[in-house]
Structure formats: structure tokens, C-alpha cells
């Protein structure tokens, strides 16, 4: 049973190397901006007047209010939140169909915090090789010290993460004081503890395991990509066969052949002075990949992008930076690993991964040798020889420009939908009234006969006042005939509604004895309220039920 399959595998630790370059810089910028927004937002103040909280962004769960700068969302306006969620969803569709897993690579909290934790790790324990050595070394005072300081720093970041979260749900300065003095509500401490623990373990120890095993998003995104989607990939047709070449020989070849062959290798986009293909010691033609493993060393997911698209790849683009650095050093054009789409592959015949014209073969149309790109061992000797195939003229091939990948019908449809919902929400936001009412007729009983023979209906009116101060709401009635209106518990027709509140007011409408409305069936009526201070009006339509004696 020695070869019984392993049911469980331990995590292989990954030690991503430091890298610098365009994408790394972009990622640092996004990291500091997103973290900055996250930590600073709850502390931004916003004056809403005396009766309302002055925190710019606040989720007030106890009172069921959501404040966002000048916007205040009430529970009945939850459609705003739904709309924003739909926009977020469409936005993800858009970005994923155009740029693959950019969300994963740049802005997912898991990626951002792991990046931050890795940065800390490098500060304390050094770069990749030093960390591998430390990992292998037996426990010593130094190792313990390094590990403990690293974990300590992680824990502080984790605590700050969980800490910042709770400030979104209560007045931040107040809560900080309470937290410091131990008088904050228990739920604040519990939330902080849970978030600290998850940040610490997910960012420090589970890292890529989260993306591979826990998160559903990679699968969903995989299904949303298509051959036109830009994603991080390896230009196998350019890089293969990989190998360490003889540099001198390569220079000589460059002189001998000039730009012509470069054109064959890089397509029409190649510039004249790009060097000719490299050759190995034995004179074999080599691709651009010098097999330095830099792309593997920097990968936070621990994969080799040269094997092709993989579920593990979060498209963080660090391997692009790593490879570009190498290409610059060996004098090759950048972008051996690059943002590319599957349909960007130079023209080859079906069934072939890639075909590279060996140096010195005849002009276009001649049979060429094919090379598998997945790095698998060469085909066994007894395997059927691959048929020679014809590669259409690579010289004339130009890759599709980037914008053609981004602007496609699919992405345009997503953008349009996204924008429409956005505009709809904005319009709704600006036209929504500051006062509001709903009317519910009381149906048990539908009417009451009073001692003088008049007929009375009752209505439960819910009044909403979104102003930061108490407002008197004046009632009036638009109805045919001699109908009069009165309020339960109020002398006149004004019902004061406290600041930022709703009020349930029972309203009576009475039809004089003998009035058609009193004797008839259902009479439509409209109740109006007017904010006596601002003159804003709102109305609700309902019916008046008579005794039903007239038909």
C-alpha cells in the first residue's frame, strides 16, 4: 500500500521573491489607496445638524439608517443598496470579461492584505532565499525572534483591520474612547476579535489556499472569460524552446541575420534592431525564455505561468514585471509574459499549440517543426511523430491592439447596463422627497356611524420626515362632497413629526349625514400633507367607504 494515493496534502509554503516594475508599482498604489480609504473613512466628519450623527459614512443598525455623506438611506429605500450591489456585480462582469481576474489580482482584500503581510514578512525575514533558508533552519533564538516579531506585526495589522471595521457602525471617536476604556458594547469586541483572527490566519498562513480552495470567485470568473479576454499569459510561441543559450553565439547570429528573422519571431510589431533568435550550445534554435524561473519565484500562488492558464493564477501580473526585467537584461523586447488574450495567438493550425520557424528554413509555406509548449517531457520515442504543419506567414501577423480586446460588444453591453442603473439610481436619489407618506385605510370596520348620523372612515397614515429637525405636517383632503378631516389626538390638522423619524397618525374622514359619500359605496379620496416649513407636499390616494345604501 505504499503507493496508495495521499488523501491529504500539507500546504507547500511559498516564498515569493521581491520584484519591481510597472505592475508592482501599480499594485502598491492600489494597496495604499484602498487601505487608506478603509482606515480613514470612518473618521471623516460630516455636519448634518444637531439631531443627526456627524459621521460621513455610518451604518446605524440600531436605528436602521445608512448615512453616506449627504445621502441618508432609510430601510424602505433599500433598493438603493440593491441597485449598488447590482452595479457592483455588473462592474465585475465588465472587468472580468475585459481583463480577466483583475479583481483578484489588484483589489480583493485577500490579495491586498496578503501583499501587505508579505511586505512585512520580507522586512523581518528577508527576501525569498533568506526566507527559504530560515524555514529549513532548525529552531534557534534568531528564528524564534524573527518569527515572533513578524507574527506580532501581523497581529497589529490584523487588529487594526478588525478595529477599523467596527467604526463604520458607531460614532468612531466615541467608540474608540469606549474601546480604550473597556466600556464598548460586547459585540464590538467580538467583531474585532473575529476579524483580527481571520485577517491574521488568512493573510499570514492560508494566503493562496483561500483563493484555491475557499473562494468561489475563481470558478465564476473562469466561466465569464472568453478567448478575447485579456489575462496574464506566456507567449509560448515566442519563448519556446526555452533554455540557457550561449550569449556570444547569439550576438554573432544577430549580426549575421539582422532584423529579418526577428520579424519572423515577433511578428510585424518587432522593431528592426531586435536581436535574432538565440541558439543553444549545440546550435539548436532557442526561444526567448532563458528558463531563469524568475516568474515562478515571484508568483504569490507558487505556479509556473508558462504552463498556460491555470485556475490558481490571480493575474497579479508580478510575473510580467519579473520577466520584463529579464528580457531587458538579455536585450529582448518586453512582454514574453504579458497581458494577452487566447485569440491573440499567432496563426497556427488546429491541433497545434505553437509553431516556431527554425532559423534557416525556407520561406513561408515550408513545413516547420512543432514544439509542445506545456513543458511536458518530449514525446516518447515510440509516440507517433507529429505531422509537419504549415505556418501561415508570421511576418505579416500583428497582434490585435489592446483596445480591441477591451471594447467588444460584450463589454459594451455590460457598460451600458451598468451606466443605466447608475443613472437611474442618481435620478432616484435627486428626486426622492424629503417628506413622504403612505396611507392604509382601516378595514375593521370599514366605516363607523356617528351619533348624528354622519359616517366616519379611519386611515393609518405613516409620515416620514427626513429633515434633521421636527416638522409640522399639515393635513388636507381632496375629495368630492362634504367630507371633513380630523386627526386622532391632535387639536388641529397639524401633526408634528420628530427629526429623522416616522410617525404613525390615525386620520379620520367624516361624511356629513345624507352626503352621497356617506350613503354610497366607495368614493376615491386623496390625502395631502404639507411640510408647513418648507412647503413640500406629498399625497396618498385611498377610498372612503360609505354605508352602501345607494347603489
Amino acid at each position: 500500500m505504499t503507493d496508495a494515493p495521499q488523501l491529504f496534502a500539507a500546504r507547500e509554503p511559498i516564498f515569493p521573491r521581491r520584484v519591481s516594475g510597472t505592475f508592482r508599482r501599480l499594485k502598491w498604489a492600489i494597496l495604499w489607496i484602498t487601505l487608506g480609504i478603509y482606515y480613514v473613512t470612518p473618521w471623516v466628519r460630516w455636519d448634518r445638524g444637531p439631531n443627526l450623527p456627524d459621521q460621513a459614512v455610518l451604518v446605524d443598525l440600531a436605528n436602521r439608517r445608512f448615512y453616506f455623506f449627504w445621502i441618508e438611506i432609510w430601510p424602505h429605500e433599500f433598493y438603493f443598496v440593491a441597485g449598488l450591489l447590482i452595479m457592483a456585480g455588473l462592474g465585475l462582469f465588465l472587468f472580468t470579461s475585459a481583463l480577466g481576474r483583475v479583481w483578484c489580482g489588484y483589489s480583493c482584500p485577500q490579495t491586498v492584505w496578503t501583499d501587505l503581510f508579505l511586505w512585512v514578512e520580507r522586512r523581518f525575514e528577508g527576501d525569498r532565499n533568506a526566507r527559504i533558508r530560515l524555514q529549513k533552519a532548525p529552531w534557534s533564538v534568531r528564528k524564534a525572534r524573527l518569527r515572533l516579531t513578524k507574527w506580532g506585526a501581523w497581529l497589529l495589522i490584523a487588529l487594526a483591520t478588525g478595529g477599523a471595521w467596527v467604526f463604520y457602525f458607531a460614532d468612531a471617536p466615541n467608540l474608540l474612547r469606549e474601546l480604550a476604556t473597556g466600556t464598548a458594547p460586547p459585540v464590538a469586541y467580538v467583531t474585532m476579535a473575529v476579524l483580527t483572527a481571520t485577517t491574521f490566519t488568512l493573510g499570514g498562513f492560508l494566503r493562496e489556499q483561500v483563493c484555491i480552495y475557499m473562494c468561489p470567485w475563481p470558478r465564476i470568473q473562469g466561466a465569464m472569460m472568453d478567448p478575447g479576454t485579456l489575462t496574464v499569459g506566456y507567449r509560448d510561441w515566442r519563448g519556446e524552446p526555452r533554455g540557457k543559450g550561449g550569449v556570444k553565439r547569439q550576438r554573432a547570429a544577430a549580426h549575421a541575420v539582422g532584423g529579418g528573422e526577428a520579424r519572423a519571431r515577433y511578428g510585424a510589431a518587432a522593431s528592426k534592431d531586435v536581436a535574432a533568435p538565440r541558439t543553444s550550445r549545440d546550435g539548436e534554435v532557442l526561444g526567448d525564455c532563458i528558463d531563469c524561473m524568475a516568474c515562478v519565484a515571484v508568483c504569490p500562488m507558487g505556479i509556473d505561468i508558462r504552463e498556460g492558464q491555470q485556475m490558481e493564477c490571480i493575474t497579479c501580473a508580478l510575473c510580467i514585471d519579473a520577466c520584463d526585467e529579464v528580457m531587458a537584461r538579455i536585450g529582448r523586447p518586453r512582454g514574453l509574459i504579458d497581458y494577452l488574450a487566447l485569440d491573440d495567438h499567432p496563426p497556427t493550425l488546429p491541433g497545434e499549440h505553437a509553431a516556431v520557424r527554425p532559423m534557416g528554413t525556407a520561406a513561408a509555406g515550408a513545413p516547420v517543426e512543432t514544439i509542445p509548449v506545456d513543458g511536458a517531457p518530449a514525446p516518447a520515442p515510440n509516440a507517433a511523430p507529429r505531422p509537419a504543419v504549415t505556418v501561415p506567414e508570421l511576418r505579416d501577423w500583428t497582434p490585435k491592439p489592446l483596445w480591441k480586446h477591451v471594447l467588444r460588444p460584450r463589454t459594451l453591453v455590460y457598460t451600458t447596463l451598468w451606466a443605466l442603473i447608475g443613472i437611474g439610481l442618481l435620478v432616484a436619489l435627486f428626486v426622492r422627497p424629503e417628506i413622504d407618506m403612505t396611507v392604509a385605510p382601516v378595514r375593521n370596520p370599514t366605516f363607523v356611524t356617528l351619533s348624528d348620523g354622519s359616517v366616519r372612515n379611519a386611515y393609518d397614515v405613516r409620515l416620514r420626515n427626513k429633515h434633521g429637525e421636527e416638522r409640522p405636517f399639515l393635513f388636507s383632503l381632496a375629495a368630492p362632497g362634504a367630507l371633513s378631516i380630523a386627526l386622532e389626538g391632535e387639536e388641529g390638522l397639524a401633526a408634528p413629526v420628530p427629526a429623522d423619524s416616522t410617525r404613525l397618525q390615525r386620520v379620520y374622514v367624516t361624511a356629513a349625514p345624507g352626503d352621497p359619500a356617506a350613503l354610497g359605496g366607495r368614493t376615491p379620496v386623496r390625502l395631502w400633507v404639507e411640510d408647513a416649513l418648507s412647503g413640500e407636499r406629498a399625497h396618498g390616494d385611498t377610498v372612503f367607504n360609505g354605508r352602501g345604501e345607494l347603489r
Binding site: F8, R11, D452, E488, V497, S501, R503, L504, R506
Partner: protein, 331 residues
């Protein structure tokens, strides 16, 4: 489907030997932390069943080491609410009912409490909407016609002692004689016509004249010469549009012939003073409540208004005037 296990060349992972249309299944090992998570949740599950009620026994379930129960939680919540409302409760019992509505919080508290009390105790006869049942003589509490008075104080007295019951010596009491025992059918029919005339209903004027005489001699002592009734003795006003048992000839005939004897039990002992007052405030606010007449400077220097208010902590502040988040509970 074949059962041939082999090592997949691309990944170096063993296959399960299953394949569907050429698609083979890799036997990828699960991550080890997953296994530990599984063990941890299992252990947690066991601990949980020890701490909390879980294992079904023949009668009931294990109680759990922490002694927690959902009933206990509700009881604690009720106790918490009761405590936070204690001073409102106390003020409600002691306040002069004439000024109850001068403390908005207290009045709102009473009305909301009364809503529950009414639904649990009164709706069986008076209906969930308080519209009463005419056929059975359960009065409609929504209109502005009151047999025994329509101020909060009057209503509270009615609720506290009830009407025409033997259980409470202070019950409101009056009794109409059954005129069928000493009147002829004609006399009854004539009185019916007069009563209909009093109420402004269609009637036979000739008979009504005869009935009027009978009315003055026999009924006016209680219902008044004009038939406007007397609240002291619960004698209904016969001139308004509201008929407790119905204003048609048949119903009036029955009323005069056999008399009526509407009974309401006393609630004071059963509900306690606070709930009696609460339900009175609720009924008073249903649309027909009457204000207490204040005399002279009583309006200014009336009885003390207690200053009890709803607890101020955020969780308990009703954002919706008219609707406290937790309705007080009837015990």
C-alpha cells in the same frame, strides 16, 4: 467508465480511474488544513451539545451545562423590558386620568399597552376592530356614543367594575323592566313608533302620538322626556343615529317587550390597575373619546403630570412615534 488508475502525465497526480467521455477525474488530495478544520468543527460540535440543550431523551432533551433555554432568554428579555418601563408603569397607575395625555410618552405607552390588553381580553365580544356586535348588544367602541361616559376616567371605571355583574359590588347597574309583562301588543307597537320618531326614523305618526304618552309615563324617568338618555344609569340616548340592539321595528319590539340586560364582567381584579387604565386609554383613542371637562383654574393648575418617559438608550428609543419597538407585555 473504466477502472484503470494511472498517473496523469500533465499533473503527476493519480486519477481515480473514473472517466466520462474521455474526461478523467484526478484524485487530488485535499488540503490538510481542511482535515483539521473538519476535526475542529467536530470537536466544537461535541462541546456545543454538552453546553447547550441537545440530546433528545425519552421526555425532553438534555439541559446543557450552561443551563441556557430559549424560554429563559425570553423571560430575561421581558424582565429587562419591564425594568426599563418600571417608572412608566408606576406613573400609569398613579396618574390622574384627566391629565394622562399631557405626558406624551406616558399616553403613548398606555395606548400601546392597551392595544395588547384589548386584543387579549376584550376583542372576543367587542371585536378585534372594536366595532362591537349589534345583534348581541356589544357596543361599538369607535363611535361617539357612550352609555356610561366616554372620558378615560369613565371608561376605566366601566372596565374596572364591569356592568350589571354580581361579582363586583361597584359594577355599573341599572335594569329596564320587560314591558311585555304588563303592556298589550298595541301599546308596545305604539311605543316602538314613538321611539322611531325620536330617532328620526320613518314612523307611523298616529301611533307615535299614542306611544308618546306611554313613553312619558313609563320611560322618560330613565331615558328623559326628550329621550336623550341618562349616563348616570346607562340609559341610552334614543335620539341619535346609534342603536345598541338595532333600530328596526322587530329589534325595538324585542327590547321593549323583554328588556335588555347587557352584562360585562369586572376586569379590575383580573387585569390590575395598570392594564385597566391602559385599555381605557386605548379605547378612548379609537375615535370617540371624550375630554374631561375641567373647571376654572383646574385647567392651569391641574393635577400633577408625571414626567416618566421612554428609556433614552438608542436600542429602546422608538424612532417611530406611536410605535414603541417593544410593546409592554400583559402578565
Amino acid at each position: 467508465m473504466s477502472d484503470e488508475k494511472r498517473i496523469d502525465a500533465e499533473t503527476g497526480t493519480e486519477t481515480t480511474g473514473h472517466q466520462w467521455d474521455g474526461i478523467e477525474e484526478l484524485n487530488t488530495p485535499l488540503p490538510r488544513w481542511w482535515l483539521w478544520t473538519f476535526y475542529a468543527t467536530t470537536v466544537w460540535g461535541v462541546i456545543y451539545t454538552i453546553l447547550f440543550p441537545a440530546w433528545p431523551m425519552i421526555s425532553g432533551a438534555t439541559a446543557g451545562a450552561l443551563g441556557w433555554s430559549s424560554r429563559g432568554e425570553v423571560a430575561a428579555e421581558i424582565e429587562r423590558v419591564d425594568l426599563s418601563r418600571a417608572d412608566l408603569m408606576e406613573s400609569l397607575v398613579t396618574v390622574d386620568l384627566g391629565v394622562l395625555d399631557r405626558n406624551e410618552d406616558l399616553h403613548r405607552f398606555a395606548v400601546q399597552a392597551g392595544r395588547s390588553v384589548f386584543a387579549a381580553n376584550c376583542s372576543q365580544c367587542h371585536g378585534a376592530g372594536a366595532a362591537g356586535v349589534q345583534a348581541a348588544g356589544y357596543p361599538n367602541l369607535l363611535d361617539d356614543d357612550w352609555l356610561w361616559g366616554g372620558t378615560i376616567r369613565d371608561i376605566a371605571t366601566t372596565v374596572r367594575h364591569g356592568i350589571r355583574n354580581e361579582d363586583d359590588p361597584d359594577a355599573r347597574w341599572s335594569q329596564m323592566p320587560a314591558f311585555g309583562e304588563f303592556w298589550t301588543d298595541d301599546e308596545i307597537a305604539a311605543t316602538v313608533e314613538h321611539v322611531r320618531a325620536l330617532g328620526g326614523l320613518e314612523h307611523d305618526p298616529d301611533l307615535a302620538v299614542v306611544g308618546a304618552e306611554l313613553f312619558y309615563d313609563n320611560c322618560a324617568s330613565c331615558h328623559g322626556d326628550e329621550g336623550t338618555g341618562d349616563r348616570e344609569i346607562g340609559a341610552p340616548n334614543l335620539t341619535d343615529a346609534i342603536w345598541l340592539y338595532g333600530g328596526d321595528r322587530e329589534a325595538l319590539d324585542r327590547t321593549i317587550r323583554h328588556a335588555r340586560f347587557g352584562v360585562m364582567p369586572p376586569w379590575g381584579a383580573r387585569l390590575g390597575e395598570a392594564q385597566v387604565r391602559a385599555v381605557a386609554a386605548y379605547v378612548h383613542g379609537l375615535g370617540g373619546g371624550e375630554e374631561e371637562a375641567m373647571i376654572g383654574d383646574e385647567v392651569e393648575a391641574g393635577p400633577d403630570v408625571p414626567d416618566a418617559s421612554f428609556p433614552a438608550s438608542a436600542e429602546e428609543t422608538p424612532r417611530e412615534a406611536g410605535e414603541p419597538p417593544v410593546a409592554p407585555v400583559a402578565d
